[in-house]
């Protein structure tokens, strides 16, 4: 069902549009998401396991009275966790009416880019697992994978 009005913000980038992205690490690789989806970044909270769910669902946390599910992308995409426990964070997203968090190994920074800096994924990744990837962003000599949140949480 295509609904133009509720289409994700990313689809409507114009070439010269300024975009802010939040860069973070999963394992050794750097990833990024559009800041407009990010609601907050927290230290690791007490996560309550939810039995009988997919393995990549880490559990739920209490965010000021709201119950927010936490997804473990490491498990979902078989990425080896790396870095210090102290640096781990939860990034909480608000996508339409869904609030959901992911665990990341480290949050690096917020970066300003232009929409044209996003390179289409087709040329970089060919595999089927690239569905959740919106594109690749090159900033200086760093390569960051821009995630398509709508696909991840489908």
């Amino acid at each position: 069902m295509e609904n133009i009005e509720s289409a994700p913000i990313e689809s409507s980038y114009e070439a010269n549009q300024d975009i802010q992205i939040v860069a973070f690490k999963l394992g050794k690789e750097e990833y990024a998401v559009d800041i407009l989806h990010v609601q907050e970044i927290n230290r690791l909270l007490n996560i309550t396991r939810v039995p009988r769910t997919e393995r990549y669902i880490e559990g739920v946390v209490n965010l000021r009275g709201n119950i927010v599910p936490i997804i473990n992308l490491h498990t979902k995409y078989s990425i080896q966790s790396a870095g210090d426990e102290e640096d781990k964070r939860i990034i909480v997203f608000q996508i339409d009416d869904l609030k959901v968090g992911i665990i990341v190994d480290e949050v690096s920074e917020v970066i300003n880019i232009k929409a044209k800096d996003i390179e289409e994924t087709g040329r970089v990744y060919e595999s089927a697992s690239s569905e959740h990837i919106k594109g690749v962003v090159k900033v200086d000599d760093r390569l960051m994978i821009l995630l398509d949140l709508n696909k991840i949480f489908d």
């Binding site: 007490n46 309550t48 396991r49 039995p51 009988r52 739920v60 009275g65 119950i67 869904l98």
Partner: protein, 676 residues
């Protein structure tokens, strides 16, 4: 210039839906009783308002359709047209179209719609009048008891109808030497606040007299529903000179005339008195105390989200209260204990008030059904009398929202499978018309909703036969099955006994869906059936789902809540008491054998390396079965505020929701009905 109407859209949608519901309901009444003037009036008013609202909002297609509908309605009202089945059907179809347009608007698809087909039908009805019209015009017009006449001519007091109550007041006044006057007040055409002026008039009149009656009624005047003039019946001791003087001081009004009248000129009109009494209870109340334009019970429309917020906050409060209580208990501070008791009382009151605010009458759901039953029985060619009882019974909004679909299903079942075809009923010596009863009532902390029909009951043999055919059981099992078990088969997934698959039932959604929905609401469903006499489905529902009592337990390091309504008792057993029966662990509890389940296994936790000598067992109830649940620790009883886990976790078997515990951690609530 186009005004931005978007901010009114919500109100428009809300009100249109209300009007639509009203339209459907009243048209059903009219269909049953075509001479019912008051239903017709209501329909006319609702349709008129709908037309006005939609053209204000710029939904031209909608306004156009309602306009054509209104033409028919006004002909009905004038008696130029009778509410024949054809006309009623056309109106129902128009309502359906309006409904779908409104839904489209709600979903953001705009209000465009091609209604030419319907308009053609409506116009056809209108122009088909032709011959009838002349004849009808000669006939006396349909007499309508309400609304009250807008323009009461002062020269005669015929325009004023008084009921017996008012008559008796006037009688008393006249006997005590007071005089009765009729007075007509005009308010300037360009006066902006007519009701304020009217209020001032009433104040002035009542300084040394009493207004017994006004036309239009005080309430209508208060609401601004009058044309700029009104007539009052006034009793006064001292003549009207002073009063007139006072009235002359009020700007923008004038006294059009007044006269003293004798009570004999005002005979109470019995029929209309009785009717206005019944119809306008509130209005009568106004006139009765006659003092001022007293307000009717005031209500406020509140966004549901705000109510939910309030509920959340009360929930948090209850939670933190629990925490404070724990501190008070641990530290043994007497003063704190006393303060806690007060807070406890207040928070309990607060909770019950908020609960009450969230309660809505089941009417909201039930009102959809008469129309559905009508359409369905027409479609199936069955005659059905549909009776609703107890629609004022109140339930929490969360339950109301969920209960509609299961009830629709049960009603469909009753009409499709329950009620026999007319011919068959006559052979059996039953009345040709079947009866379907929908009843709601309170009992303790529960609400019971029953769907009852006087149809053929449940043919257990056919149920068994069908179950065998579908491979749900084998013939041997079928022979051994008692009544209860057989009925239980109805709730198996994919079971449907309808001989022929009709458009109505047999869509592959069975009673199993109804059952799971009811159980998700912490409710239960029971069936009673008498062969040849009828079937009754009883649904038992908790009054509220938001705050419940729960037993907190722990397995390994995880804490869970079990709704206390599902817990029968807790007990401690030693590991030697556990026996094996057909590969299932069981225990004996006071002579009954219970299956025993390990919560660790059910929740995917590793089994402990070493079994404890003694273990805690929570005896829970699933339907009419008792089951033992092995847990590590019993923490205690607690009031919990249920929160949803959100749509990412919809339908996890065994998990009913979550709570935020006193320590800020999330704990999960076990759903006993789906855990095993």
């Amino acid at each position: 210039m186009k005004m931005d109407m978007s901010q009114y859209l919500d109100v428009f949608l809300e009100e249109s839906k209300e009007h639509l519901e009203n339209l459907n309901q009243k048209l059903l009444e009219l269909e049953k009783n075509p001479d019912n003037g008051s239903s017709l009036n209501e329909i006319f008013r609702s349709a008129h308002t709908l037309k006005g609202m939609s053209s204000t909002m710029g939904f031209e297609d909608l306004a156009d359709l309602t306009h054509h509908m209104e033409d028919i309605l006004s002909d009905l009202k004038e008696g130029l047209l009778t509410a024949s089945p054809y006309v009623v059907d056309a109106l129902f179809k128009s309502f359906d179209r309006i409904q779908s347009i409104v839904e489209n608007i709600e979903n953001g698809h705009g209000g465009e719609s091609d209604n030419r087909d319907l308009i053609e039908v409506l116009d056809g009805i209108k122009s088909g009048l032709g011959a009838q019209e002349a004849a009808a015009a000669a006939e006396p017009q349909l007499v309508l008891e309400s609304p009250p006449p807008r323009e009461a001519a002062l020269s005669s007091v015929n325009g004023i109808d008084i009921n017996e109550y008012e008559h008796s007041i006037l009688q008393v006044a006249e006997n005590s030497g007071m005089k009765i006057y009729a007075m007509k007040i005009e308010i300037d055409r360009d006066c902006l606040m007519k009701s304020v002026r009217a209020y001032m008039v009433f104040r002035a009149l009542e300084e040394d007299g009493e207004v017994v009656k006004s036309v239009p009624s005080a309430q209508d005047i208060d609401d601004g529903k009058f044309d700029g003039n009104f007539t009052v019946l006034l009793v006064s001791k001292n003549g009207l000179d002073e009063t007139i003087k006072r009235l002359n001081n009020i700007s923008e009004i004038s006294v059009a005339g007044y006269e003293a009248i004798a009570l004999t000129q005002l005979a109470p009109r019995e029929t209309s008195a009785a009717k206005t009494e019944a119809e306008n209870l509130v209005l009568d109340g106004d006139v009765k105390d006659g003092k001022k334009g007293a307000k009717i019970k005031q209500t406020v429309r509140v966004d549901i989200e705000r109510l939910d917020n309030l509920m959340n906050l009360v929930g948090e409060l209850v939670m933190h209260k629990g925490r404070l209580e724990q501190i008070a208990a641990n530290r043994k501070i007497i003063e704190l204990n006393e303060a806690m008791e007060q807070i406890d009382r207040i928070s309990t009151d607060l909770q019950s008030v908020v609960m009450k605010v969230r309660m809505v009458p089941v009417e909201q759901v039930f009102n959809r059904f008469p129309r559905m039953v009508r359409d369905l029985s027409k479609e199936l060619n069955k005659e059905v009398d549909f009776i609703i009882e107890g629609k004022e019974t109140e339930l929490d909004r969360t339950v109301i929202d969920e209960i509609g679909d299961p009830l629709i299903h049960l009603l469909r079942n009753a009409i499709d499978h329950g009620i026999e075809p007319t011919a068959e009923r006559l052979v059996k010596g039953k009345p040709a018309k079947g009866t379907v009863l929908l009843r709601a009532r309170h009992e303790g902390n529960n609400v019971y909703i029953e769907v009852e029909d006087d149809g053929g009951g449940i043919n257990t043999e056919r149920v068994l036969q069908k179950a065998v055919e579908k491979g749900l059981i084998d013939t041997k099992q079928a022979e051994l099955m008692g009544w209860d078990e057989t009925i239980g088969l109805l709730f198996y997934p994919g079971f449907s006994t309808a001989g022929t698959v009709t458009d109505v039932s047999g869509r592959g959604v069975g009673l199993d869906v109804v059952k799971s929905k009811i159980e998700a609401l912490s409710g239960e469903i029971f069936v009673e059936a008498r062969p040849g006499l009828g079937t009754r489905f009883r649904i038992k529902l908790p009054l509220t789902l938001a705050i419940i009592q729960a037993l907190m337990i722990a397995v390994q390091n995880e804490v869970y809540a079990i709704p206390l309504s599902a817990v029968d008792e807790t007990t401690m057993i030693s590991s030697q008491e556990i026996k094996m029966m057909q590969k299932q662990e069981v225990i004996q509890l006071r002579g009954t054998v219970l299956p025993l389940y390990r919560l660790t296994g059910l929740l995917g936790l590793p089994d402990p390396e070493q079994e404890n000598e003694s273990m805690y067992v929570v005896v829970v109830r699933k339907g009419d079965r008792q089951i033992g649940l092995v847990v590590d620790t019993l923490i205690g009883q607690q009031e919990i505020v249920i929160k949803s886990l959100g749509r990412l976790f919809l339908g996890i078997p065994g998990i009913a929701g979550a709570i935020v515990a006193g320590d800020g951690n999330v704990r999960l609530i076990l759903d006993i009905s789906t855990l095993f």
